[in-house]
Symmetry: D2
Subunit: 337 residues, 4 copies
């Protein structure tokens, strides 16, 4: 940690700051420059205490040096984390493809889509039973009935299933049905939910919030890890920007950035980020080319009639055609699919 | 609702779209322009169904016309909503000032600050007992003990209290102690929490999420209202932008925008938005000048030693001096304080 | 164009708006909904006039329907534009790779890099002679001397050259040396420069401004086209967002979006967007996977000593290795390199 | 300047970095922490050179300590700069109000508005003769004829005039007519224009670019100052964000931030930022409350017929009413108007 004193800071102010740091049991290394004094601080983790010194007279800025995420960071855990769910690996050399409807609408719909995506090579089935929607007037999901249909679809197709949990009171129930629980973008900093999911020990997919930096995402993962659950898949799904043609702006650079900073697997959701059917395939291919460990897409057997996110869903035949190309791209970047 | 057909859409495609809209029991008004056909749609609320037509061949865009928030909007409720809490009005001609520590740290700290801000003219006491923090290694609050200290401080000072609730399982407990429950920016789209707070019937302050538009904020309020709870105070506290000097960018234009679109009171939190002590007063004055119904600020009797958000807290004497100026500004914009 | 009247608009206000539109010689199609009246407007291009009606009593919103770019849009020109420069095609099936130093620093430096990138398969040489720099204290380029070195390097290697022009007074001079003139991101809305470049008739690369939407970019291209110059290459190079790990956020979705909306070729600059060496290769691969017509990267024979943008430059050997992978990706998406 | 070495950096890498820094004639102060080594660098201005070391093996980050703007910063010039134009002071205790039409449309229009705003108390007349417009199909201004009308209006009303210059070739001509030349937001980093305006020695108003940080704005001012021209007025006019209700997001916090970091006067343009008539007055009042040295607004005698930015223009009577309130607010914050 570095404390930068303002150009006009007095000797007394510098001394006061140094004394204050010493009072926390930390060592200081002041560097007296031509215009400014900078105080390096060495010692164990006192970040919080020192950050609160920001208001002290003479201090211009306080700059942390250590990464604030201990367990999610690659420094503490250099090797890639590989998560195994129902025989499928996420984070290994293999690319994981997660596909299914935005929302579970009925047993028939889910089964038809599940069989379709399995036949085209998807390894994991997605489907929302609890849908967080911006408007209370939009379809909110089938709830536990939807979970039951997902479990049936797993039985029938052999695909492990992922579904979203939105309420800490439902974590236990959702874990009974799902192989992976998803924490959605809107809940990325719902710390009560993160803690409950952490305690569950269940594999979790954590989606990046639309105004969250990569650092914020890794700190949210840290909330899950400190409860003892390291089976975390991160998911890039677009951030809020001024561009309005796409729903959000897919930040694909976040993929190599996360792989650089963290050992956790990262997958990309190109459909929610763009909100437009014709952008899903190119961005899915780009995601794998950029180094993602997998993708998650929405597939519907009848997108025109979908109760949720129809505009961005792929048809089964679009999905099949995309899988062909994904396989080729995977080979180029030395991955398998 | 308006459906815009692409320039290359065929007559058949236009006809298919019109047939589809009719199948939902809605009427159509096609307008055949020189380059494009536009289809106006009249009928009751079928937004969701029609939005899912976005994928149909020939459709370029679907543009909603009606505001998606029915009860939070001023169209349905032209008069300002005034909320009364412990004798204090929010949303009337009177300006409401909410002040107190970021986090409740101890009985002594809270009481000292509560007496101080009351003496300077604050009408409501704030203090966090459950603190949502980006990092799991930051101070997380005292929990129910903190709530008890708040209730004691109310007893002692006569000030009604506001505190944050972060977990739907705690809503009932927090309501037992607090006069207003706060839903924080990170939880603005935590729909389980919004629903629980809505059911409680308790006055609620809803903070704008850092990547939420004003429209998203009003839709979040709608989640509370449809549970039967109209006592909602909206709070602008900054949005995520590329500017890094301030923690967030305080969007003060949102104040007159919200007053224009909604009947709900709106207050401003200048401290969380800017993250810097020296910006709190000017932005608080600006907020009242822009038409806000109140402000919420952090005050500490010893900011250097605060366990949370010290850098942005005001001292008691800074708060007192700010109150003087706020009173003058309030008079200019025909408000009282 | 659609005029949306507010819910409280009176019959008289609706009539006034209709009369006003008629006064411009345009026809109206009012649609009287349950809550609001919407007025469709048909006629030729009176956008500007009608937009200025926004202030009229009763009007809530005015929504344009036609794309505002006539010549840059795909509607007017369905086939891809292919630009030929010194035997290299941009916008055809072939992928174009533009490489070279950020700034021309000396004859020796430029020649060494030019030979290196040519040997690895680059088809166009880049190098800045006039450098727009955020700080006036940063290296500003060699000016006309730099242009001369570029012309020599073309002579020597056979590679056509691209360089930036920052001042309308220099357009003629730069065109004497360069095969493609580049308008940088900071100058994307420097309309005097766009007009001069348009008049030159010279092939131009137009970089997207960091706060410009895709629509703004196409409108900037329109400024060049209306001067009679259709040889425009668009370039995505990152937009300003709240994420600070990367310099800007590379908006790769813009690639398929631009290909959808416009006939102009689009290339990607992964180095300026990310500002970090280790992100250049993954984002270059992703760009081609997403459908870009080419990429532009910075290569240096000694990045540690570069006078400009050293941190994001590739070494010659990194460039060579990236080219190998780009060739494979190009094949997968049915392109050649 | 601080160089942060990565956690895995070897002793040899640390040594190499130190040797490299020494080779530039700079002194180093390494601090060996538990996990990371940090190297403080002391010496004169070698920012550019050291920044280019970012690519060196083992380096994780390079953090500048000194402000990069030497002359625009308050450190070098603690007292407020006051600019005097035609008897009007900007940056002193007096608040400056600049008003007039977006574009000069005719002699009659300009004179009518000029007289109107003068009678209500405006001290400076604005009016665009060269209009930078996003679309080439929008009205581009009257050019030199517009400048002549401005000079006549000054003659007639006694108000000094400000108008925009968009092309370095026009700076000399515009300076012959205008008392203050304006560099617009789109040209904030048009360094050729900044240099020319700097050489002119004429008072200049520099508007913040929509994706520019405050630091970028101060660096743009630095381009003008190093040519010997210190008469610079900064102008906040909104930044690009995801919020779409307003055209841009007015960043009013930038006002106290700029006053803190720089000695230059800062004014606010609430109309361009919001793009909506009903937001102009509340944001103008808020600007003065936040500490701005003045405001600039668009006033039209017939907004419905304005050739440019009609929706956001005030009528003469709205302007008059706003001036009343501004005078009261000015008194509260100890300013005069």
């Amino acid at each position: 940690m570095i404390i930068v004193m303002g150009a006009g800071a007095t000797e007394q102010e510098v001394e006061n700051v140094i004394d204050k740091v010493h009072s926390f049991g930390l060592r200081t290394h002041p560097i007296y420059g031509v215009q400014k004094t900078v105080i390096g601080i060495v010692g164990d983790d006192k970040t919080r205490v020192v950050e609160n010194m920001q208001g002290m007279p003479g201090i211009e800025d306080i700059i942390p040096i250590l990464q604030p995420y201990k367990f999610a960071g690659r420094e503490a855990h250099p090797d890639n984390t590989v998560i195994e769910v129902g025989g499928v690996e996420i984070g290994s050399k293999a690319i994981a493809v997660i596909a299914g409807p935005c929302a579970v609408e009925s047993e028939e719909q889910l089964l038809a889509i599940a069989r379709g995506v399995r036949d085209s090579g998807a390894q994991i089935l997605r489907g929302g039973a609890f849908k967080p929607r911006t408007s209370p007037y939009s379809f909110q999901g089938l709830g536990e009935d939807g979970l039951k249909f997902l479990a049936e679809a797993r039985e029938e197709t052999g695909l492990p299933v992922i579904t979203e949990v939105t309420d800490p009171r439902n974590v236990e129930m959702v874990c009974q049905y799902a192989d992976i629980v998803q924490v959605g973008a809107r809940n990325m900093q719902n710390f009560a939910l993160l803690t409950e999911v952490g305690k569950s020990g269940h594999p979790v997919m954590l989606k990046r919030g639309p105004s969250s930096t990569v650092k914020d995402l890794l700190l949210a993962a840290e909330y899950v890890i400190i409860e003892g659950n390291r089976d975390i898949i991160l998911c890039e799904r677009g951030i809020s920007t001024f561009e309005t043609y796409t729903r959000n702006t897919l930040d694909l650079s976040a993929v190599p950035v996360i792989k650089h900073l963290s050992h956790l697997p990262v997958i990309v959701d190109p459909a929610h980020a763009t909100g437009r059917n014709h952008l899903v395939e190119p961005m899915a291919l780009a995601a794998i080319a950029a180094g993602a460990d997998g993708i998650m897409v929405e597939v519907h057997n009848n997108p025109d009639a979908a109760l949720c996110d129809g505009p961005q869903s792929l048809t089964l035949s679009q999905f099949d055609s995309m899988m062909e190309k994904l396989r080729s791209i995977a080979r180029i970047v030395d991955r398998s699919l």
